[in-house]
């Protein structure tokens, strides 16, 4: 990570940490939403940005995580934050199962299949799958989370929980990007044939991208369930998948700071124009079209910094 990027992250962290001092509960709540979408977009970025797999059903993984946590909490009285890793695991397993048979599909075909997958999940939730998901009303009465004996209720408390998780995710994902794993995902995006020909098990890494992305979306889902205390299928519609997809593309696919900026722009910015409520989406659609012509690489298309000259040994070392 470069010094400038680190300084940028610290500045954003300090700023967000201080917001409860001068913003009212509404705006703090907006920031919570930005954080949740940033988490979703970071997880989708592994699949769409890093591995280059067109996936537009991310809401399904989010839903599996949220519902897993909610069911564990309301049926088995498991504390909601304890359910977080289980929600992540459930979403990861689900991701592996649904991605396995379709992973060989390319581009648009994968896109359409993932949309279909997302819709099937939503319909399954509406139909009260196994009598567990509560149909279109969803699940309510999810317990408040508590952290070290401190019960979280107010938006500012959730702000710290959510953005703390964002910080952790950014830290881990930067490490991931700078590793063998992250590079393997990038080779998939660049040229699948060359990746396989260089010894990368492309099928395995495509699946791994889905598993990791789904796991993170699932964990984010459990935080969402904890914050809302009520979840219902409409929170996991096709539209949610589109929003997360758009955040990644507008921010800069493959760029961690870009994706976070994207979450601010797509989720935060429209709140500023609340007065124009009904025209917002119209402009949003228009902005997407214009953006693809003017700046298709996104606002902040930073490549991960993997090596500085100093990290690579000098000339003359024998192979």
């Amino acid at each position: 990570m470069s010094r400038r990027l680190l300084a940028g992250y610290l500045a954003v962290a300090v700023l967000i940490g201080c917001t409860p001092l001068f913003l009212d509960a509404y705006w703090v709540d907006v920031l919570c939403n930005v954080g949740l979408y940033a988490l979703l977009a970071l997880s989708l970025n592994l699949i769409l940005g890093d591995a280059g797999l067109f996936h537009m059903g991310h809401a399904a993984f989010y839903a599996v995580g949220a519902y897993t946590a909610a069911i564990l909490n309301t049926r088995l009285q498991l504390p909601i934050l304890w359910a977080l890793p289980i929600a992540g695991l459930a979403a990861a397993i689900f991701g592996a199962i649904v991605a396995r048979p379709v992973i060989h599909l390319r581009g648009d075909y994968l896109l359409i299949v993932t949309i279909g997958m997302g819709e099937i999940v939503r319909i399954a939730l509406v139909n009260d799958l196994g009598g567990l998901t509560g149909g279109s009303n969803g699940i309510f009465g999810i317990g408040r989370p508590s952290l070290f004996g401190w019960k979280l209720r107010r938006p500012d408390e959730f702000l710290y929980l959510i953005w703390g998780f964002v910080a952790l995710t950014v830290f881990l994902f930067h490490r991931l990007a700078q590793s063998r794993f992250g590079r393997a995902l990038n080779t998939l995006r660049e040229d699948e044939v060359a990746a396989e020909g260089s010894g990368v098990d492309t099928a395995r890494y495509k699946l791994m991208a889905f598993v990791m992305g789904a796991a993170w979306a699932g964990m984010t889902g459990s935080i969402y369930a904890a914050k809302m205390t009520i979840i219902s299928p409409e929170s996991f519609s096709f539209w949610e998948s589109v929003v997360v997809f758009v955040i990644v593309i507008l921010g800069g696919a493959g760029s961690i700071p870009g994706v976070i900026l994207g979450a601010f722009l797509v989720i935060g910015l429209p709140e500023i124009f609340r007065g124009l409520a009904s025209y917002r989406m119209l402009f949003f659609g228009l902005a997407l079209m214009v953006m693809m012509v003017v700046r298709p690489q996104g606002f902040l298309p930073l490549r991960p910094v993997r090596f500085r000259e100093a990290d690579v040994p000098p000339e003359g070392a024998a192979p």
């Binding site: 991931l176 063998r180 044939v193 020909g197 260089s198 010894g199 990368v200 990290d311 070392a317």
Partner: protein, 257 residues
């Protein structure tokens, strides 16, 4: 001594066209072997059969006594066969050193969890991989461009980078598909030196090339294909004299007359 790579009656049919028809040849350990023939003779198809990009419709391919049938490409790379592509396939948006590191992938093992936790083993592995990548870049003469994006390299350098990536996989056999394609005379001369240095590392080389001066200078053994079939095989001097090879390249006397 049995050969490192044994190809026996390899056959590939596309639709009704037999692109490769019962081709057999050996590549012995440590040799530089050339695969030549007119355009459309099926040379690249043979390469794709070896590397598992295509499934053969008949025949066997054995590497170091082991059949390659049904193996996926990355497994074949792991067994020790690395390749370059006729129409350069680099990871364009990645830097030169990252391209070479991709070749180290199959010789390293740290997973996502190890990377996120930066376990000691993972850090050591990353350091060693970077050292090796740097060494391979030096070997092909690209150490100075390590941080350049692959797409910003010149054509000749892109070909060299592909070779460095292939060498990073610890191959016992590298197969080069038209390595001199698009190179000028000086670059080709340099390339011959590079191929000989690869051989000096104990790595066997099989190459497709249209530049006959390179083939004649560098190769110890030559296999000639025409219309998907092998028409000649042997050392350069013998192949040069072969009547069918001359006909294949120049046409028959009747056609000329």
């Amino acid at each position: 001594m049995s050969a490192l790579l044994e190809i026996r009656e390899a056959t590939k049919v596309f639709g009704g066209l037999t692109a490769v028809n019962k081709v057999s040849f050996d590549v012995k350990q440590g040799q530089i072997v050339g695969l030549i023939g007119p355009n459309g003779a099926g040379k690249t198809t043979v390469f794709n059969l070896i590397t598992g990009n295509y499934r053969a419709d008949g025949g066997t391919i054995t590497f170091d006594g082991r059949s390659l049938a049904g193996l996926r490409t990355h497994r074949i790379v792991q067994l020790g066969i690395a390749r370059t592509f006729q129409n350069i396939r680099l990871f364009q948006q990645l830097s030169a050193v990252e391209n070479v590191l991709a070749g180290r992938h199959c010789r390293t093992g740290a997973g996502a969890l190890a990377a996120m936790l930066r376990l000691p083993g993972q850090r050591r592995e990353e350091r060693e991989a970077a050292e090796r990548a740097a060494a391979e870049l030096s070997f092909v003469g690209l150490r100075g461009q390590a941080m350049e994006l692959a797409r910003n390299l010149s054509y000749g350098n892109q070909r060299k980078l592909e070779i460095a990536r292939a060498l990073a996989t610890d191959p016992r056999l590298v197969i080069l598909d038209e390595p001199a394609g698009g190179m000028n005379e000086n670059e080709t001369e340099e390339l011959i030196g590079l191929i000989r240095r690869i051989q000096a590392r104990g790595i066997t080389v099989l190459l497709i090339e249209h530049d006959m001066s390179l083939v004649m200078k560098a190769c110890e053994n030559i296999v000639v294909l025409e219309y998907g079939a092998r028409i000649a095989m042997g050392p350069p001097e013998a192949v040069k004299q072969d009547r069918r090879v001359i006909e294949a390249y120049l046409g028959t006397d009747e056609e000329l007359a």
